[in-house]
Symmetry: C2
Subunit: 177 residues, 2 copies
DNA sequence: TCAGTATGCTTCGAATTCGAAGCACTTCGG
DNA sequence: CCGAAGTGCTTCGAATTCGAAGCATACTGA
């Protein structure tokens, strides 16, 4: 039932990696958010969405893919896409193979905004994030974080969570797998 | 005025490190949030606050220190501390040296909750974050991220931002340091 | 000492966020 | 083919979040 408690606490390096990770991402996000705000009047999520869309061949993706991609709630995504659509940066359309699905496509205007905002974004990254790192550090960081990301992405079936109708709790640890 | 655009885009490793960082922290936070929610009915910020308070000698810190520490707005912190106080996990008191200041102190109950929640928190970290990493990876991650964090913390005078009364914009790049 | 400015915190209003519930369509089992 | 269960998205209500404005105390220079 209850998760098995870890008797052994984390060692300094583990704890340090964790705390530094959270702190770095928070600080980075905070600054980037400001930059995006006054460079293109975008929130961070909106930027992420546009960036993801701009990265695909046809510039479109399904709602669910987007939500999972940026780690956002479905309802939250509906709201944000609504804003982006109202601003003319994306368009909503039906999904070819699934009538329930909604395809979101970046517009030309959306691409323009993205292009306008990107340089400043990169500047922030360089100054705040990359500046103190050596080439090797960056490579190492990319490698390790990618491993972790892939691991995390493989753990729960993404947006799974069996829409619990009745009582059906799921423990973080029961999937001992 | 405008930031100098970076003509050179980021190389794959730089981009990869950045995206993986954001993705990892988002996913981690998401899962941790759930764990904290049903283990102790705490939000992530609340947990962070308690953890920070629990880590100091006397279990107390000023509002501003806390806000900067967890990268949160002042008003947001006021709100959260209000909740924690109402729940009896922290207590507010006057600051010794500064009559404007407010000291937040973790209570015994607060420490209990923290202790109750922590094991599960660590479990999540292990399973989701540390599991796929080798000892050396963790050490490297801790080292590099700590460098970045220290760099970030040293850039803007923390909560600075000269409360702009009149027009007094500040560019991200003008403080060429 | 005193005005003027800076800092610490809270209040206020507006925007965002999420989960639960709802609706539409799709898939599965008989 | 039909009903039940599953999935995709949106709507709804409640909670959180932030910045701007406000209030109180501290610091500064004359």
């Amino acid at each position: 039932m209850t998760e098995e408690a870890s008797p052994s606490p984390l060692d300094p390096a583990e704890l340090g990696a964790y705390f530094a990770l959270i702190e770095v991402s928070s600080l980075l996000r905070h600054t980037v958010e400001q930059q995006l705000r006054d460079a293109g009047d975008l929130s961070y999520v909106q930027f992420q969405l546009l960036a993801r869309l701009g990265d695909t061949a046809d510039g479109s993706q399904r709602m669910t893919e987007l939500a999972d991609g940026v780690v956002y709630s479905r309802s939250g995504l509906t709201y944000q896409v609504g804003l982006l659509e109202k601003a003319g940066l994306v368009a909503r359309g039906p999904s070819a193979d699934d009538d329930r699905g909604v395809m979101v496509t970046i517009t030309e205007v959306g691409r323009d905004v993205l292009a306008r905002v990107f340089p400043g974004h990169i500047d922030v990254l360089r100054q705040l994030f990359l500046e103190p790192l050596a080439r090797a550090d960056i490579d190492s960081l990319a490698r390790v974080l990618t491993v972790v990301r892939d691991h995390m992405r493989s753990i729960p079936p993404r947006s799974a969570r069996p829409r619990q109708k009745s009582a059906a709790r799921q423990s973080l640890t029961d999937g001992g797998a």
